[in-house]
């Protein structure tokens, strides 16, 4: 349908719209008008994606000055879903407007997901596909192939290159699958085609990394104009993504690998000296002129004041001591040696980048300025040496990332060296972590560069904390409720077991056998009352292992198995995938199943337990982070000093958002229904409860706040019976959940 919001005609491909979608559009429109950023929380299952797409593309149609829509998702799966929605939207727009509404939208992913050459795409990991591709498409390989027809090349890349400027995608919406099909048909490489087409596209859908990780962003996103609208979907963990993008871990094997790489590089240098000394010479000259003139790093471009590469570095010449290849290799050897020495320690050390650089200067004679250039210097060296199997040089790249970061930033980072794992103090496993503490660093350039950034997710509560964490000023931050025709959500706070004793995963209570037994009884009662799938989330792997063991000894697990099969998430991805698969099958065939999972684990983040796959989710305890972790403590201290966020506030915020994320897995659409049990007495306290997202809180009745096991079982039975009754999907009168075009026109008039 077609309707007006503040004078803007919006094309919406469905017959009806939810009231909250309409409100969302209003706010979004205001943000775009104000050319500012916004923060919007809307529960999953209310059609967030189509709302965003429909309003922004309609806005782009009305205001051609607005550039692209850059839509960032977390996973390839989500990317495909966005593009599918977009396809519907595009079809509708074309129906309404005809040829005017030409839209080119495409998804961009790594070579692994786009390569169509069977020999290469068959490779397992992302790195090996990248390397396999480079082997066939690097410029020097192709130059050699001109003389020697025996050298293998990628036919698709050749096809793409041959067509030159004619290699264009016709308008339309392309999922990754469509791109591959198109590439196969034309004989063009989909990956390079997609990268090329980004500058012509109206809508680009890709991963967070392409904007946030400075290494990738520099290559992919440099050509985006300022007028773009950026959307981060499912952004509740965006601060962690930002931090990860700028954090480096160095382990023993990284160092070993780096040493190996360096000797390989030395050999390569020797070889190329013998055969083609000129090439190294040329590189030297280039470096004297400065990186900016080198071509692939456009210094004057307004794109991204690259957080890893501050402006000045781009204009400057590379320091003399690392210009020559041999010198640079020697420099890196010293660096690796130094790090190795530092890691060979007995106790935990933690220091700031400044003191690390100072001691590096004193002991290894390495200055800060050269450190800054490591990343690009290595990049240039590998290009000069015509290295194609870049996946093998991963380790030395890690070291150079580390060096550049440590050389660039004096604040917002900490370096922590731990000689062994906390849990296994006997096994030496030294690790050096360069940890970013400030999530605003990585995202800052994005906020600065683009006129509108939309951060949205199903769970962003408490919404006032995100602007502080990411250090920006949203024009609008809002949280929407879900309009429902029936109460299909049933959150409960369980504070006591059936013996009326409090339950909690608090440190001093968690190993109490009474609490363990009460938690077990809760599960046992629930499996007899709830059909199909139940998901249980625990606070950590170790806690889960412990409690499942105790349940096994108490015989609770055996009783549970009489009713439902039990599956457990492990740290092994393959094993977990298998468990999930079997869990789904058990739910499908009516056997019923329980899935034990861990908050913050892979399952809690990415797997949906909608419909019968999750009728009930039990959150055992409050998933606080491991508060002894040194990185966390450093971050807490930094947050307190820099952003005035209290430690407890942040920890509670983080724990509750994880809990909300876990329980939110259970409901993915309005037709769905599910129960959520927060099994910890601490959830009853105001500071925890009030941080839950509004759409959960609005269903949390006062009578459901302080329940014991028997009461919650009673409520569960009632709820399930009520939900099994047929219902009217549209709702009537005041609780209408679907608005038609006529309704909207009426609202507009008012």
């Amino acid at each position: 349908m077609k309707f007006k919001i503040d004078g803007l005609t919006v094309y919406f491909p469905y017959e009806y719209i939810y009231p909250e979608q309409y409100d969302y559009m209003m706010d979004l429109k205001r943000t775009l008008d104000a050319r500012g950023h916004c923060l919007l929380e809307m529960p999953t299952g209310t059609g967030k994606t189509i709302t965003l797409l429909s309003l922004i593309t309609s806005y782009m149609l009305a205001n051609p000055s607005v550039g692209k829509l850059i839509y960032c998702t977390r996973t390839v799966h989500e990317m495909e879903k966005v593009l599918e929605e977009l396809r519907k939207l595009q079809a509708y727009q074309e129906k309404c407007l005809g040829k005017v509404a030409k839209m080119l939208a495409l998804g961009l992913s790594s070579r692994k997901n786009l390569c169509v050459l069977p020999e290469v795409s068959g490779e397992g990991s992302r790195e090996s596909v990248d390397a396999g591709c480079r082997k066939l498409t690097a410029s020097w390989v192709r130059a050699l192939a001109l003389d020697n027809p025996n050298i293998e090349l990628c036919s698709f890349y050749e096809g793409y290159e041959k067509s030159g400027a004619d290699a264009l995608l016709p308008t339309g919406v392309y999922t990754l699958h469509d791109l591959r099909a198109f590439g196969r048909e034309r004989g063009w490489c989909p990956y390079f085609l997609a990268r090329h087409m980004i500058q012509f596209a109206n809508v680009v859908v890709y991963n967070y990394q392409y904007l946030l990780d400075p290494k990738v962003a520099g290559i992919i996103s440099k050509e985006m104009e300022k007028e773009c609208v950026v959307v981060f979907d499912e952004a509740h963990n965006i601060d962690n993504v930002c931090i990860e993008a700028l954090s480096v871990n160095i382990r023993q094997q990284t160092l070993d690998g780096a040493t190996r790489n360096l000797s390989q590089v030395t050999q390569l240098i020797e070889k190329s000296k013998a055969t083609d000394a000129n090439r190294l010479r040329q590189e030297y000259n280039r470096l004297v002129e400065g990186l900016a003139q080198r071509g692939n790093l456009p210094g004057s471009d307004t794109w991204l004041a690259n957080p890893a590469l501050p402006q000045d570095i781009l204009q400057e010449a590379v320091p003399g001591n690392i210009r020559r290849a041999e010198h640079f290799v020697a420099f890196l050897k010293r660096l690796v040696q130094y790090i190795k020495a530092r890691m060979n320690t007995e106790q935990v050390e933690s220091e700031s980048p400044v003191s690390f650089v100072t001691s590096l200067q004193n002991q290894a004679g390495i200055d800060q300025k050269s450190l800054k250039f490591c990343y690009d210097r290595l990049h240039s060296l590998l290009l000069t040496l015509e290295v194609t199997n870049t996946d093998e040089f991963m380790h030395i790249q890690t070291i150079c990332d580390f060096a550049t970061l440590v050389g660039t930033y004096t604040r917002g980072f900490t370096i922590i060296i731990e000689p062994y794992d906390e849990r296994m103090p006997n096994i030496p496993d030294p690790v050096l972590q360069l940890s970013c503490l400030d999530s605003s660093l990585a995202i800052k350039p994005v906020f600065e560069k683009f006129q509108s950034v939309v951060i949205t997710s199903g769970t962003l509560s408490p919404i006032d904390l995100y602007p502080r964490l990411l250090n920006f000023h949203p024009v609008i931050s809002n949280s929407y409720k879900m309009t429902l025709t029936r109460d299909c959500l049933c959150p409960m706070v369980l504070t006591r077991g059936s013996d009326q004793l409090p339950v909690s995963t608090k440190f001093d209570m968690r190993s109490d056998p009474g609490v363990v037994r009460n938690y077990g009884r809760l599960l046992l009662e629930m499996v007899t009352a709830v059909p199909d799938g139940i998901v249980c989330f625990f606070v950590s792997y170790s806690y889960m292992d412990g409690i499942v063991n105790s349940w096994n000894e108490m015989g609770i697990l055996q009783d549970v198995m009489q009713h439902k099969l039990v599956f457990i998430e492990t740290q092994d991805v393959v094993e977990t995938t298998l468990a999930l698969d079997n869990y789904r099958r058990a739910c499908d065939c009516g056997r019923g199943a329980v899935f034990f999972s861990v908050a913050r684990g892979k399952v809690a983040e990415g797997i949906d337990f909608d419909r019968h796959y999750g009728r009930l989710v039990i959150m055992y305890g409050v998933p606080f982070q491991y508060t002894l972790s040194r990185i966390l403590r450093a971050r807490l201290e930094y947050l307190r000093e820099t952003f005035q966020i209290k430690e407890n506030d942040f920890l509670t915020f983080d724990a509750v958002r994880q809990a909300a994320q876990c329980v939110g897995r259970v409901i993915r659409s309005k037709a769905d229904y599910g129960m959520m049990i927060f099994a910890d007495k601490r959830y009853n306290r105001h500071d925890k409860r009030s941080k839950l997202p509004g759409w959960i809180l609005s269903h949390l009745r006062d009578a459901h706040l302080n329940l014991s096991t028997d009461m919650s079982v009673h409520i569960a039975r009632e709820f399930l019976r009520r939900m099994a009754q047929p219902y009217d999907k549209a709702g009537q009168g005041t609780n209408a959940t679907l608005l038609s075009q006529a309704d909207l026109e009426r609202m507009e008039k008012k």
């Binding site: 935990v348 933690s350 220091e351 504070t495 608090k506 440190f507 007899t528 009352a529 709830v530 059909p531 199909d532 009713h563 439902k564 739910c587 499908d588 065939c589 009516g590 056997r591 019923g592 419909r611 019968h612 009728r615 409050v622 606080f624 508060t627 002894l628 040194r630 403590r633 450093a634 201290e637 430690e647 407890n648 920890l651 509670t652 007495k681 601490r682 009853n684 306290r685 105001h686 006062d702 009578a703 706040l705 302080n706 028997d710 009461m711 009673h714 039975r717 399930l720 019976r721 009520r722 939900m723 099994a724 009754q725 047929p726």
Partner: protein
């Protein structure tokens, strides 16, 4: 450098804040259920001292809406049904959340259902299968006698073990595939448990039921179960879950009227039937069904002259379907039902013609008028335009299956021509 003390941060400063509202939220379980609804305020005492809900008309409208939804449009219905009733008597049936126990209430409802079923579908057959201890056990064969089923069921009231839907489906399908093609195959499962523990692939069993054109319906006792929903969706049955005892009975009874025929199998076919004569009162003959000598009563098969005790049935000797003509007539109303009555809006009563009737055409009770003492809805037959009260509407559509207004007008209009 930060100093690290080996104690987790104190995240729980005080737990006392929680205690205050504990008293509030901690109402007794007996209060909780009623406090929110305040159902007593919706009641009113009438002149005879009976308690009645405040808005009678509203309630009657709701009832009518429900009935209308059940009746659906005028469609072809299969009146020769072969139904297996699958009863889950597994461990879960012993639960007492429905009084006296799930098993008890199910048995009561099924008993009523069996009687109602044969009353509405005299040409149909029914059998009972019990799910117990993981296996399916056939309690009674497909037959037309309500008493046999009820007796067998009453003598088999115990529950144990797990339930297996797959086993039950396979067993029922095995019997149902043998029946003649004009019969409508149905399965009605009353399911207490929350899981089915099967030896094989239940999805395959569902698929086979679908292929065999068996309509499977499920009445759940506790919650919606995915596999049951799938089964009903795939085979065109109804899935419903009971909220309380009365609702359960209503849901089971919903299956008594014949279901609409699925389009793809609705091929008209001729069925050979016999209309046996009732034997003389003092005749002595060997009964074919009980294999014993009986005196008096009984019917004689017109084809093979064998003797049967009850109608309707199949002749035990030649297999001919034996019915009596009232049976056929009783099934007939499903095909040509009385049209649903329309509600007469109050406005029409006030402004309309003076000749509007004050009394119900059926029972001569006073009809509700605006401002009048009698509350409720006023209904009119769309054919004869006579007005009826709510109770008569129910009686006409559910039991009588004839509209008194239409019947008498047809008589009065035909009289002058004579």
């Amino acid at each position: 450098m930060m100093d690290v003390d080996e104690r987790p941060l104190r995240l729980d400063v005080d737990d006392d804040g929680a205690e205050e509202d504990e008293a509030m939220a901690d109402r007794g379980a007996f209060e909780r259920h009623y406090a929110d609804e305040r159902s007593w305020e919706e009641l009113q005492e009438d002149e005879s001292g009976m308690l009645r809900p405040l808005d009678v008309a509203q309630q009657q409208r709701q009832h009518r809406k429900r009935m209308a939804a059940m009746a659906g449009p005028h469609i072809q219905r299969g009146i020769i049904r072969y139904v297996y009733v699958l009863l889950d008597f597994s461990r879960a049936a012993a639960e007492m959340d429905l009084r006296p126990s799930r098993m008890g209430i199910v048995a009561d409802c099924v008993e009523a259902f069996v009687r109602e079923f044969f009353d509405q579908n005299p040409l149909s057959h029914l059998g009972i299968i019990l799910l117990r201890n993981g296996i399916a056990h056939r309690l009674t064969d497909l037959s037309g006698s309500p008493e046999t089923h009820i007796k067998a069921l009453r003598s088999n009231m115990e529950c144990a073990g797990d339930a297996s839907i797959q086993n039950a489906l396979d067993l029922a399908r095995g019997y149902l595939t043998q029946i003649p093609s004009y019969g409508h195959r149905e399965i009605m499962l009353v399911f207490s448990a929350l899981s089915t523990i099967d030896p094989g692939d239940i999805l395959e069993a569902v698929q086979k039921c679908k292929e065999a054109n068996i309509r499977c319906s499920v009445v759940g006792l506790s919650a919606e179960i995915y596999i049951c929903k799938l089964l009903c969706d795939q085979t065109g049955g109804i899935y419903s879950v009971a909220t309380n005892e009365a609702h359960l009975k209503e849901l089971i009874m919903e299956h008594a009227p014949p279901p609409p025929v699925q389009a793809e199998i609705s091929v008209a076919s001729l069925v050979r039937m016999g209309f046996p004569q009732r034997g003389a009162e003092d005749a002595v003959a060997l009964c074919a069904c009980h294999r014993e000598v009986k005196i008096g009563g009984g019917y004689t098969c017109p084809r093979c002259k064998a003797r049967v005790c009850e109608l309707p049935t199949q002749c035990h000797i030649c297999g001919l379907t034996l019915v009596s003509s009232p049976h056929l007539a009783r099934s007939y109303h499903h095909l040509f039902p009385v049209p649903p009555f329309e509600e007469v809006a109050n406005m029409a009563v006030a402004n309309g013609r003076q000749s509007i009737s004050k009394n119900c055409y059926g029972c001569l009770q006073e009809l509700p008028t605006p401002g009048g003492k009698v509350k409720g809805v006023r209904l009119a037959c769309p054919r004869c335009r006579q007005h009826f009260c709510f109770d008569c509407d129910n009686y006409i559509h559910e039991s009588l299956h004839n509209c008194p207004g239409c019947e008498s007008t047809s008589i009065s209009s035909s009289q002058p021509s004579q």
